[in-house]
């Protein structure tokens, strides 16, 4: 018998889910009005009487204080149909084979308690009042995610839970040898392999040499391994740029700088799942940032959820397994107030995207117990169809555990979640443009996360690492087992029995098993003598572990299904014989144009508009949803100041309890400048990420950087040209600042096409920085502390308004591009660090988006203290710069610092001894109640005079404003 336990909010209790549905329907401009009642529930299949199941429901499933419950038996529909139109009751449940954490938990609990239960599935039920002609739209766009769920209208029409048909083995070989070029291209596209013609021909030739046709599984393996996502064929390929041939752009720029620097604190860079640097005598730390753009465009919640879940597995799979200690997240979206009619077909509204990705990161990161401590939001209309989602994780690794090597005879052990149908074709899917059909064709590439499974896997991995039970580990990310086993065994060889993989449901064929990107799985190389101990440990933690095969020194990747060989590939062919990509690149810099700026007597409104800009405005509504303090090591929180709402430059965590050495984590990106001058953009981002770290107390000689390139289609020479310039800037600045890159990732093809319309993102480079703080007790925050203290500006201000927030607000284009001067920057960083280390700085804030005016305004708001600033005291102000440029120019390498009068001599001494040229005392912290931020112009008038409450109300912009 199948029972439906339906659990609704009790009388007088809020229906959060119902309200959320109504709000989303309104935001999507579905014809309304809608009135929705939502219920959660479970379908339980087992031998129960009505009384028994009611008892179970009230004991185990319902909160009797706030919920009410109804239990009904399900009856098979006479006509066999799933949907009765005309009723307004809608049930939604997961498709067979798709992760259903609540259902699985319910099943496990019931069985543990001794009940004979066949199945337990979570189900949501909605009672909907609204226009019947828009009901289908509501179901498909709000209530149900077709990619992974199924909706049923009317009474539940089945009396048992179907699990799909069993799979009947059939080996499929592909007649590649007879295909001509057109057929090869068509086959690649139809199969979503994303292989180019030259790649298809190389594969054809390889199999012709072996005298046989490939199997579908072999083709998929090659496609995954050769995908842009996994092999970075553009950045590692040949680029012809300005008459020169660049052989492997990554190696000749970003890696090269790290290699040249050759710093003794680098442990493992660009070779593992995350870059590793040394931290103290006992520990190393590692950091990785990934993107999950394409899945998040289609399913923001699921995409971001599995984005953070995936990047957490990177440190877990680095060396012999690092413990994740902090997460970061950065989102790029179109303006949340974009009119719905401007949103193209197949594209979700940016407000929906932003809400979804925030919730996705929240629910996974919080459940994992990893503090999310740093992030950013960048808003630009060009992200409309291609929102970007960056997630990062820092891990802590005992010294001596950073390297691994698989040995002949080691067992291939899968640990964690079961393999399901979710996430087929993610790796190749993320290597193509999105189209208006994307939501239709790529449903399978959406993955479902279950954070608790990953937490359980983590608990096993760390214990097994400390007991030295395995020799190597990596995560199952893009490409699933195919990539994980293929990479681990690349220098050796592997044999895998695919039928051994535990499945969520039995309908998967051997290729699906091999390439499924089902989440929460790790692959380990376990020496046979440790298998028993390893599996006992996993059992004790209730985590499934399965031997899939073994690593063998054959140089081949052999795949079997029930004893029959379904794949037999040369590791060398797979990893070394991909035809190299040759691409053209060029870049035509836009001519510098003069800006025709308004000269005003007062810039109050301009400042308020800058503060309300999406990039500048408070992110508190996001930050508070994340647990940024779990693990008890967050010493400088993301939000700082007297009311804990000021925008900190970087967070600081204590990786090791009982010690004072800390890590500062920051980031920077600037798509506004990316479209104007990619070199200056990249240099500026590196400078900003470093100064964010330095501003809280990080040692500038211990800062490691990560790059994440998100670009459009690199097959367009102009697009690739701007990427080449950004990579060159990374090389140059890393050398100049001695801040090595330790890891990175690129995501290309961030374009959308629909008919003739093509929309590419602005060149977007995220720089993430991990700086080491010698003693966190010396850290400073950016909020103004005490009235009567002096404010200093360090760094040169010039008239460089190109790409600035203010110019964007004015709707203007042009102006000079701000350039980094590393020779001066190095000295500034050293001076600020020395001053912080000596305790002479009370507050420190970097000058970035919105310029000097925004920086001081933020310091005032954070400390609820006013400030008086004299424009003429700004270093460089005497060189004919306009007042507006001084206020809003976004020159790099500048800090505003607050100094107690008694510390001023010492502070000046430090600046002089470090050889800093550009600095000046620009004002004071004021004592006036409810403080005002005042800037006096050259002629004595107040260019800015705003009270803190007014600034706060502009700056505290939420999604609904």
């Amino acid at each position: 018998m199948l029972w439906h336990i339906q659990i609704s909010p009790g009388p007088g209790q809020p229906d959060h889910e119902g309200r959320r549905i109504e709000r989303e329907a309104a935001e999507l401009h579905l014809p309304g009005p809608w009135l929705v009642s939502a219920a959660r529930g479970f379908l339980i299949q087992g031998d129960f009487t009505q009384a028994q199941i009611e008892r179970l429901a009230s004991d185990l499933f319902v909160d009797s204080v706030v919920e009410s419950v109804r239990v009904t038996p399900c009856v098979r529909a006479q006509d066999g149909s799933l949907t009765h139109s005309g009723t307004n009751q809608i049930h939604v449940l997961r498709q067979p084979g798709v992760t259903d954490p609540e259902g699985e938990s319910g099943l496990n609990l019931l069985r543990d308690l001794g009940y004979a239960v066949d199945h337990c599935r979570a189900i949501r039920t909605y009672q909907v009042d609204g226009p019947s002609n828009a009901m289908d739209a509501l179901v498909s766009r709000v209530l149900c995610n077709d990619a992974v769920e199924v909706a049923v209208r009317g009474p539940i029409p089945f009396d048992r839970i179907g699990l799909g048909a069993n799979y009947l083995f059939q080996r499929i070989s592909v007649p590649l040898s007879t295909m001509n070029d057109v057929e090869l291209v068509k086959f690649s596209r139809d199969g979503q392999l994303s292989l180019s013609l030259s790649e298809m021909k190389a594969i054809q030739a390889h199999f012709a040499e072996m005298g046989r046709e490939p199997t579908d599984c072999e083709l998929e393996t090659i496609a995954q391994t050769w995908s842009e996502h996994c092999s970075h064929k553009t950045l590692r390929g040949v680029v012809e740029f300005e008459g020169k041939v660049i052989d492997n752009l990554l190696k000749s720029t970003i890696f090269q700088a790290t290699k040249t620097l050759n710093l003794d604190w680098l442990v493992s860079v660009f070779e593992d799942n995350a870059g590793v640097v040394s931290f103290d005598h006992d520990y190393d730390v590692c950091f990785k940032v990934e993107t999950h753009n394409h899945p998040s465009a289609i399913d923001p919640y699921g995409g971001a959820n599995t984005g953070i879940g995936g990047v957490i597995r990177d440190p877990m799979g680095t060396g012999l397994g690092a413990k994740p200690i902090a997460n970061t997240d950065v989102f790029c979206v179109a303006p949340p107030d974009t009119p719905p009619e401007l949103v193209p077909p197949g594209v979700l509204h940016p407000k929906r995207v932003l809400r979804g990705v925030v919730a996705g990161v929240r629910d996974y990161g919080n459940r994992m117990g990893i503090p999310t401590v740093n992030g950013a939001l960048a808003v630009d209309p060009a992200y409309l169809a291609n929102p970007l989602v960056f997630c990062g994780t820092i891990g802590l690794l005992p010294r001596g555990k950073a390297h691994k090597e698989v040995a002949h005879g080691d067992l291939i052990v899968a640990l964690g979640g079961r393999t399901g149908r979710d996430g087929i074709h993610g790796a190749t899917f993320s290597s193509v443009d999105l189209t208006s059909e994307s939501q239709g064709i790529s449903g399978g590439s959406v993955q479902i996360g279950n954070a608790i499974t990953e937490k359980m896997v983590l608990d096993v991995v760390l214990q097994a690492r400390d007991r030295e039970l395995f020799r190597s580990i990596t995560d199952c990310g893009a490409g699933g087992f195919s990539s994980a086993v293929g990479e681990m065994g690349a220098n050796l060889g592997a044999e895998v029995d695919l039928e051994k993989a535990p499945l969520k449901y039995q309908g998967l064929n051997y290729t699906e098993i091999w390439i499924s990107e089902a989440q929460e799985r790790m692959v380990l190389a376990v020496p046979p003598e440790h298998l028993e101990a390893f599996q006992a440990l996993a059992d004790a933690e209730h985590v499934e572990s399965t031997v899939l095969g073994r690593f063998v020194d054959t140089g081949r990747l052999q795949l079997r299904y029930e004893g029959e060989v379904v794949g037999d590939l040369s590791m060398h062919f797979l990893h070394e014989e991909r035809p190299r990509v040759v691409r053209q690149a060029r870049f035509t810099p836009a001519p510098e144009t003069a800006l025709d700026l308004p000269e005003r007597l007062n810039y109050n409104d301009d400042l308020l508009a800058v503060l309300a800009n999406w990039d500048v405005a408070s992110k508190e509504w996001i930050v508070r949803q994340y647990d940024h303090e779990v693990q008890g090591g967050t010493i400088i929180k993301p939000m700082v100041g007297s009311h804990e709402d000021g925008p900190g430059d970087a967070s600081v965590i204590l990786p090791v309890r009982g010690r004072w050495r800390g890590l500062a984590i920051s980031c920077a990106l600037n798509p506004r400048l990316g479209s104007i001058d990619p070199y200056a953009m990249a240099a500026g981002c590196i400078d900003e990420a470093i100064r964010n770290c330095v501003a809280v107390g990080a040692d500038p000689s211990r800062i490691a950087l990560l790059d994440n390139f998100c670009w459009g289609n690199p097959e367009r020479p102009e697009t690739l040209g701007s990427l080449v310039l950004a990579a060159k800037a990374c090389h140059d600045l890393a050398l100049a600042y001695q801040t090595p890159f330790i890891s990175g990732k690129d995501s290309l093809y961030n374009e959308y096409s629909h008919g003739d319309v093509s929309l590419a993102i602005p060149p977007t480079l995220l720089i993430s920085a991990m700086g080491q703080v010698p003693d966190v007790r010396r850290c400073v925050t950016m909020d103004l502390k005490e009235s009567g203290n002096s404010l200093y500006l360090i760094g040169e201000t010039t008239d460089c308004l190109a790409g600035s927030i203010w110019v964007q607000h004015l709707g203007l284009k042009g102006g000079r591009v701000p350039q980094v001067v590393p020779e001066a920057g190095r000295k500034i960083f050293a001076a600020v660090h020395e001053a912080i280390s000596n305790g002479v700085i009370r507050a420190c804030h970097d000058v970035s988006d919105g310029g000097l005016a925004a920086a001081i305004a933020e310091m005032c708001m954070a400390g609820r203290l006013g400030a008086s600033v004299l424009l003429a005291s700004v270093p460089g102000a005497d060189r004919g710069i306009s007042e507006s440029a001084i206020l809003f120019s976004e020159n790099p390498t500048r800090f505003v610092v607050e100094i107690r009068p008694a510390d001023e001599p010492r502070f000046r001494e430090i600046l002089n001894s470090q050889g800093v040229h550009h600095w000046g005392r620009v004002g004071t912290v004021d004592a006036t109640p409810n403080g005002h931020f005042i800037v006096q112009g050259h002629s004595g008038q107040n260019l800015i005079d705003i009270g803190i409450p007014q600034m706060l109300s502009a700056w505290r912009r939420t999604l609904d404003a």
Partner: protein, 257 residues
């Protein structure tokens, strides 16, 4: 003075066990952290300990409601042993998810006059992490020995305390079981957001059983152990140590008497 032995019980999804153990150890206790299934295998092992702590996290993903699965296992199998621990003078502490577990397991409020209580979805509808000020009521629970306000971060999505009826809340107050309340800047219990971060009735942040030996609270004392944990430490006078240590030290002192 003997060192109290603390058992920290973890389940799949528990994620505050390490910092909770650290806080106990800083207060002078010795800690062991066990997987729930280890204790289920032999529940009498609990007799080796003087304190049982259920730390924060998302046990079993909170898949059937916050703390529900942990509580079901704890309640059906261990309830008796936990009460024995209390009856012989031991202490039981549930923080955040641990508080939810104690409530769902029927170990709180443990008062036959009162119907079930719950911790349900925050008024905001989602998880929030923010610092809260709390007024402790000393005298009942060995964990709370001073009326001096405490500042701890609250970090949860389901922390809104509700009773079945207003009378039940009144009875709990009368019984002296409401020992921690969210307060505003003036020190008064408050229903206003964000000082009361979730909309809890009676501004309840934590409660104890009639003996005071079982304490559950939503905010996290183990996250305010160092003075540098405080969100405003860079701008105000530094405390000697975090407020959370008062709670752990009081408990250790009471057991060492």
């Amino acid at each position: 003075m003997a060192t109290p032995r603390v058992l920290i019980l973890r389940a799949p999804g528990t994620n505050c066990n390490e910092e909770t153990a650290y806080a106990w150890e800083q207060a002078g206790a010795s800690c062991e952290t066990w997987h729930l299934s280890r204790l289920l295998a032999d529940a009498s092992q609990i007799s080796k300990f003087q304190v049982l702590t259920i730390p924060g996290g998302f046990s079993y993903g909170d898949d059937l409601g916050a703390g529900r699965i942990f509580a079901t296992r704890l309640g059906t199998v261990l309830g008796e042993e936990v009460r024995k621990l209390r009856d012989r003078g031991g202490l039981i502490l549930g923080i955040c998810n641990g508080f939810q577990v104690l409530v769902r397991a029927g170990l709180l409020p443990e008062n036959s006059e009162i119907g079930p209580v719950t911790l349900t979805r925050n008024d905001s509808g989602h998880f929030e992490d923010r610092w809260t000020r709390l007024a402790p009521v000393p005298g009942r629970s060995p964990f709370l020995t001073s009326a001096e306000p405490l500042e701890f971060p609250s970090a949860h999505g389901e922390g809104k305390f509700l009773t079945k009826s207003a009378e039940d809340l009144e009875r709990l107050q009368q019984a002296g079981q409401i020992v921690l309340r969210y307060i505003d800047a003036e020190g008064n219990p408050t229903q206003s957001f964000p000082q009361n971060p979730n909309g809890s009735a009676g501004a309840v942040a934590g409660m104890c059983d009639p003996t005071g030996q079982i304490l559950g609270l939503m905010p996290h004392p183990e996250r305010h152990v160092l003075p540098y944990h405080h969100p405003r430490w860079t701008r105000s006078e530094l405390r000697a140590e975090g407020d959370g240590m008062r709670l752990f030290r009081s408990a250790v002192a009471s057991l060492s008497e």
